[in-house]
């Protein structure tokens, strides 16, 4: 630092400022309009070139023209100057222009503040942990820059400064946590700009056609995570995560159709219900996923007559809910309307389908027997379970059943449901997820898109709606084990290999690492990204601080922060106190004892002179005083400094009571 805020910046400082600003605003270049990004990159390049050739720097008039150009550029691509994108575009352009006109020491502050602003806008686009690490690094560097501006001679290497600013940030961390958890959250934004991001969301949809589930299954993205309370995680074969229920078909695809306009019927359940918390990734749909069969409804959600959980509004953000399900159930009698919907047939039923069903009907005693025969058919005939089935024409069910016989779960579920309807048994298709992997570190269940599944439900007279999974008849392993899309060859009709492979030591380590990341990610989502008003009040309840609400939270935040700052202050003072070396401390103690009896050592007095004065006043202390002083002088100025002597000095001073 110099006392003059108008000091010109050095080349080195300029270079660091340019780099810092690029680190802060640079990532926006990836998603802004190409012209805005080009403007940013161009300006930064010009500034970098001007480092070696200052003549390249634009004059005042040219800079004005450039500013107008930057504004026009932003305005041309975001005409209304409205919303997040436009703001970021403008900010990025102006930041680049600031680089061209920074010259003096006080510009450091302008650049650092603007960079901090640019950094926070990064979080509007991405929220991964890695980005947070990156942002923390840049903040540390920006802080170091400010520190540099306030020292006379800063360390020659930037690492020294980075360590110091890192230390400061580390001290700020507890304060950040206090404020983060206590700052009152609002359930709605202060003002709504009405512009929301439209991201392509993946996940099960309420429209299933051949290939739609298998396409989904190639992704390892997480669909949702589940924490089970007390009861433990159910067996894989019982983990059917029920999503949309599909009633209507046009012979090619299946859709949910109109909702069932009925109240949910009472159902009989046995056993204890299973309670769990689901953290669902954005789906863009309205339905939630629950184990078969849900009986408790999260708020703002309704349980339909076909046991779908439907939220009032589409779910575009990650969100968490609590649900409870009975694994053993009987849904009881069937309403006329549901029977009607469950027996509807498309118009492309072929004679060979009808004759196949007629054959089963002749051989079986009742509906339940017929279902078994149908499953046996899938099991005995040469059906293949594959992620890459041969393409099917306009009557997929018929072609699949009799010609190609290669398919993924949606092929089996839809054609089985259709066959049941032909046989006069009410049936429907249920889409959702099946299985999931337990994270051994976090203890939670991870359900991925590759666990997407479709199955069938038929209504049987005494049992109610019964879940039938024809896939299980073809590939029972699918139900027991998750499918790993990385291990499936992409050839058409390639069978899915469920055999566990030996992954070796490194593989096992990698696996472990993968799970750790997932566990970290889960708590990241739970405690950081998903921290909301609801979770805040739950945390307060957990801490026994229910009374902290609204403005009281603010008071508590301010109060606790103040306490933390005080603690920090005390710690710093304690750590910074001058520490006399132990020998000095013993001598000081010796002097203090003498002072109490009126013999104060004068500041200019060495031990020898002081000793003589003591003996003059108190000849009776001769023995003790002389040996203490001799030892002290020996340790301090002679060659007697060793632990034994130090101990002796301590003992002698302790024993010295004039």
């Amino acid at each position: 630092m110099s006392p003059d805020p108008n000091r010109k910046l050095s080349q080195r400082e300029l270079l660091f400022l340019i780099v810092l600003l690029c680190l802060s605003a640079g990532p926006h270049v990836l998603h802004l309009q190409p012209w805005i990004s080009a403007f940013f990159i161009g300006t930064v390049t010009l500034r970098l070139l001007a480092l070696s050739r200052p003549a390249l720097l634009p004059g005042r008039f040219l800079l004005f023209l450039l500013t107008v150009a930057g504004l026009a550029n932003a305005l041309a691509h975001y005409p209304l100057m409205f919303g997040r994108e436009a703001g970021v575009a403008l900010l990025t352009s102006m930041l680049a222009l600031k680089l061209l006109e920074m010259k003096r020491e006080r510009d450091i502050y302008v650049v650092v503040y603007l960079s901090l602003f640019a950094l926070i806008t990064q979080f509007l686009y991405r929220q991964e942990m890695l980005l947070v690490v990156y942002v923390l690094f840049v903040v540390t560097a920006l802080t170091a820059m400010l520190m540099h501006a306030n020292m006379v001679r800063s360390p020659s290497r930037p690492t020294g400064l980075l360590l110091r600013s890192g230390g400061l940030l580390l001290q700020a961390l507890p304060l950040m946590l206090i404020m983060f958890f206590l700052f009152p959250r609002f359930s709605s934004p202060l003002w709504d700009l009405g512009i929301r991001e439209n991201r392509a969301l993946t996940g099960i949809s309420d429209n299933i056609s051949p290939g739609s589930v298998s396409r989904l299954s190639r992704s390892r993205a997480v669909a949702f995570r589940v924490d089970f309370e007390q009861d433990g995680i159910p067996q894989p074969a019982r983990r059917y995560w029920r999503g949309p229920v599909l009633w209507d078909t046009d012979g090619r695809s299946w859709t949910a159709g109109d909702p069932i306009p009925e109240k949910i019927s009472e159902f009989f359940a046995s056993g204890k219900p299973v309670d769990y918390n689901v953290t669902l990734e954005p789906t863009g749909g309205k339905w939630l996923f629950a184990l078969d069969l849900p009986h408790q409804v999260p708020p703002k959600t309704s349980l339909e007559a076909d046991f779908q959980l439907i939220r009032r509004s589409p779910q575009k953000h990650r969100f968490q809910y609590r649900a409870s399900s009975y694994l053993n159930y009987n849904t009881g009698p069937l309403s006329e309307y549901q029977r009607f919907r469950g027996l509807q047939q498309p118009d492309n039923i072929t004679p060979r389908m009808i004759s196949l069903v007629a054959q089963w009907r002749r051989d079986s005693v009742d509906d339940s027997d017929l279902v078994d025969r149908a499953l046996a058919y899938f099991n005995e005939q040469p059906f293949y379970y594959t992620l890459y089935p041969a393409p099917l024409g306009d009557n997929p069910a018929d072609q699949f059943l009799f010609d190609s016989r290669q398919g993924f779960c949606e092929h089996y579920a839809t054609s089985f449901t259709l066959l049941m309807r032909i046989a006069g048994i009410p049936a429907r298709v249920v889409a959702g997820y099946q299985g999931g992997e337990v994270n051994p570190i976090g203890g939670h269940l991870v359900v991925r898109q590759s666990d997407a599944h479709a199955w069938s439900e038929v209504w049987l007279p005494d049992l109610g709606w019964v879940r039938i999974d024809p896939t299980a008849a073809v590939a029972p392993e699918r139900i027991e084990q998750p499918l790993d899309p990385d291990r499936i060859s992409e050839e058409i009709g390639a069978p899915i290999d469920f055999m566990p492979v030996d992954i070796g030591f490194v593989g096992a380590l990698m696996e472990q690492f993968r799970w750790s990341i997932d566990a970290l990610d889960a708590s990241w989502h739970r405690w950081v990204l998903g921290y909301s008003k609801k979770r805040q009040s739950r945390l307060m309840r957990l801490l026994g601080l229910d009374f902290l609400k609204g403005s009281r939270l603010v008071y508590a935040m301010v109060g606790i922060t103040a306490v933390a700052v005080t603690l920090l202050t005390l710690t710093l003072i304690y750590r910074g106190r001058p520490k006399p070396d132990p020998v000095q401390a013993h001598y000081q103690r010796f002097c203090n004892r003498l002072k109490r009896m009126g013999l104060q050592r004068r500041s200019y007095e060495g031990p020898r002179d002081f000793g003589q004065r003591i003996l003059h006043r108190r000849p009776d202390l001769r023995g003790q005083v002389e040996s203490i002083l001799r030892l002290y002088i020996g340790i301090r100025y002679g060659r007697m400094d060793n632990p034994a002597n130090r101990r002796r000095l301590k003992q002698m001073v302790s024993g010295f009571r004039p």
Binding site: M1, S2, P3, R84, Y109, Y113, L116, F117, L119, I120, T121, F123, L124, Q127, V132, V135, V139, T143, L146, M147, A149, N150, M151, V152, R153, R164, S165, L168, L169, Q171, A172, L173, P174, L175, M176, M179, F180, F183, R185, F186, P189, L190, W191, V528, L529, G530, Y531, S532, T561, V565, L568, T569, L572, I573, G576, R577, P578, K579, S603
Partner: protein
């Protein structure tokens, strides 16, 4: 016009008997700087953004920066806390010159204290970084107008470290003063000096001024007095001998001058300087004090001191 704090009402750290002032916690003032206020505005903007987008990472960054500001407050305050200062006057100066004081800062803490700055009213600041457990020096210069003792004015010790968001300062009173000689008056031709007398006793004994002759070198003679020329002429090693003080002696007398007191003192000051420069033997006669004639720097200093302190 610069604001001058009413020092009488401000707390200040005062030097103890040994001349050391220690900055204790209650003596330190702290307020945000302009950059600090701008930082506050930035934080409010960030918070508004985070609330509006319900962006938890935004909240985190905002609160991290808020925490940084608070931590910074503690560090700025602590950067002065426990610092010990002593002052020493530098060389005496002539009125109108800057009186400079050497301020010694003792950092007893193991950690460094960067960016320590000292301001004195009426002069530029001085700034330094103190390493851990070390001593550093700063200078404070004050313009002088009058002769006499110039006390060290109240110092303002301040720092903005670490981030420049806040400025902590404290006022320090140290016991130090600098002697200010009168302004040297205009040069006088020697004939105008009325008190010009020749030394009554001529050559007497061994002196340092007048060459008398050569004698045989004896062990212990100063090599300066060895006659190298004689040695070059291949004569023996010989030592030059100097005779006693036959030179002029000058009395500077306040009573013999007329006019304003300060003007007379200024003229005497010039007289002292000239006499010393010409290596004369000179004495000073003031109303209440007489300094016997002598020559050399010590005499000069003695006389100037007497002139500076004259009442």
């Amino acid at each position: 016009m610069k604001f001058r704090p009413p020092y009488r009402f401000m707390r200040s750290a005062v030097a103890d008997r040994e001349g050391t002032a220690r900055i204790s916690s209650r003596k330190i003032y702290i307020l945000p700087t302009g950059h600090g206020l701008a930082y506050g505005v930035l934080l409010i903007l960030l918070l508004l953004g985070a609330v509006n987008y319900a962006n938890n990472l935004g909240f985190m960054l905002t609160f991290l920066l808020t925490g940084l500001g608070l931590v910074c407050m503690v560090h700025t305050w602590r950067n002065l806390l426990g610092l010990e200062l002593t002052a020493a006057a530098m060389e005496p100066v002539f009125a109108g010159q800057q009186a400079c004081f050497r301020i010694t800062l003792h950092n007893r803490r193991a950690g460094p204290r960067p960016g320590i700055r000292i301001d004195v009213e009426g002069s530029g600041p001085d700034i330094t970084d103190l390493e851990g457990a070390s001593t550093g020096g700063l200078s404070a210069c004050v313009p002088t107008v009058h002769r006499g003792e110039c006390p060290l004015p109240v110092l303002r010790l301040s720092t903005r470290y670490p981030l420049g968001l806040l400025r902590a300062w404290c006022y320090v009173r140290l016991d130090a003063s600098c002697l200010v000689y009168p302004v040297p008056g205009p040069r006088m031709p020697s004939s105008d000096i009325p008190d010009y007398t020749r030394s009554a006793q001529g050559n007497r004994g061994v002196g340092a001024d007048d060459f008398v002759g050569l004698r045989q070198y004896r062990a212990g003679d100063s090599p300066r007095h060895v006659s190298w020329k004689a040695l070059a002429r291949e004569q023996d090693l010989q030592t030059k001998m100097f005779g006693g003080d036959r030179a002029e002696r000058r009395w500077l007398d306040l009573e013999l001058l007329s006019g304003d007191l300060e003007a007379r003192l200024s003229r005497l000051c010039r007289g002292v300087l000239d006499a010393c420069e010409q290596n004369l033997e000179f004495g000073l006669r003031l109303k209440d004090r007489v300094i016997e004639p002598a020559r050399g720097q010590n005499q000069r200093q003695r006389c100037l001191e007497a002139l500076a302190r004259y009442r």
